[in-house]
Symmetry: C2
Subunit: 213 residues, 2 copies
């Protein structure tokens, strides 16, 4: 049940997109004290077919036992390990407007593997205020901070027109991942990983599906 096998390298993006969802539901079951679940019951809960679920999890070596189903807690932990959630990431939030504040609260309340090490904003007025143990600093300190504190991830919640310059700054400073909430797609070095949350794309898809209602 090694998670560092070479097979993992070929996992499709679609499977990776589904894993957090599995983990989310398993976390819910765990909180309710449920210890095991069949792929059929998991299927009804999550809304994927049982065969899809078995196929997805087989990518990583199975986990299920014939006639028993899946151990909720084991599967939850294993998916966490696969996703890299068995370690701690140091993050900075760049842009501390309403969205930056919302994400700071969200991460600090729900994502114990992600530690907010620093927060950056252009506005003088909120400098030196603190969020938990993170100081709020001016953007001039961003590059040095990312370098010196070995920051893994930058959460970008600045206005769209500032997104690329922030991305350039953190990439030059050696960032490994970017969580981009702006409406633009960033131009990044090959070795920097990026996940976009383009909320307008989701809103427009909603409008499409509502058209004929």
């Amino acid at each position: 049940m090694s998670t560092g096998n070479t097979k993992e390298k070929q996992i499709s993006k679609a499977v990776i997109k589904r894993l957090p969802r599995y983990r989310r539901y398993l976390g819910e079951l765990k909180r309710k004290g449920i210890e095991k679940i069949s792929s059929k019951d998991l299927s009804e809960l999550i809304g994927y077919t049982a065969s899809q679920i078995r196929q997805d999890l087989n990518n990583f070596g199975g986990f299920g036992q014939q006639g028993y189903g899946y151990s909720v807690s084991l599967l939850y932990d294993e998916i966490g390990t696969i996703l890299g959630l068995n370690k701690k990431y140091q993050i900075v939030i760049v842009g501390y407007g309403r969205l930056g504040q919302a994400m700071a609260s969200y991460i600090s309340n729900n994502e114990s593997n992600f530690h907010i090490a620093g927060i950056f904003d252009v506005r003088q007025i909120i400098q030196d205020v603190e969020f938990k143990d993170a100081q709020i600093m001016t953007c001039g300190n961003l590059s040095g901070f990312v370098k010196n504190e070995n920051i893994d991830i930058a959460v970008i919640t600045v206005p769209a027109e500032k997104a690329q310059i922030v991305a350039d700054t953190v990439c030059d400073a050696g960032i490994k991942g970017i969580w981009n909430f702006t409406a633009v797609d960033l131009d990044l070095p090959e070795d920097v990983v990026c996940e976009n949350v383009h909320v307008s794309d989701s809103l427009h898809a909603l409008a499409y599906y509502m058209k004929d209602r």
Copy 2:
């Protein structure tokens, strides 16, 4: 070039997910004053193959002219029409914490087709404050407001444990669409459309892709 044809009914979810992205890039080109673009140049910009782009747009009747490429402004408008962005939607925001406030600003500044008609929150302290022309009301008024004002979409930005009860309330009141920002998947009537923005799924996918860096 009718957009109300029956072919549209069979468009895959994957194509629909890509359309807002096309429109976003076309909007950018339009702002820069660029009038036409080849599928090859569009491909380099968006990062899909030219053949993928032609195939996607052919689903809706083409739009391109051999040897000319696409008219940026025409294609932008047509995709908007396909997405249902040629009309106005009345929306309510339920939950006016940091995320609700961030989404209110975002929608009001960027999404002219979506009008915030009302905002709801449980906290007495922020009642009767206004956001633009929208009043902030207690959740007790939600059902009546959705009914009387013919609200199309509810944006749900309440804590996860309150999400289902809010969804039940707005569905009973006749809502047509839900934009769900909570960590839970909602149990909804067949005829209600829902788009989820599960930010943690995106963060965990980011962690996965960073694992081997």
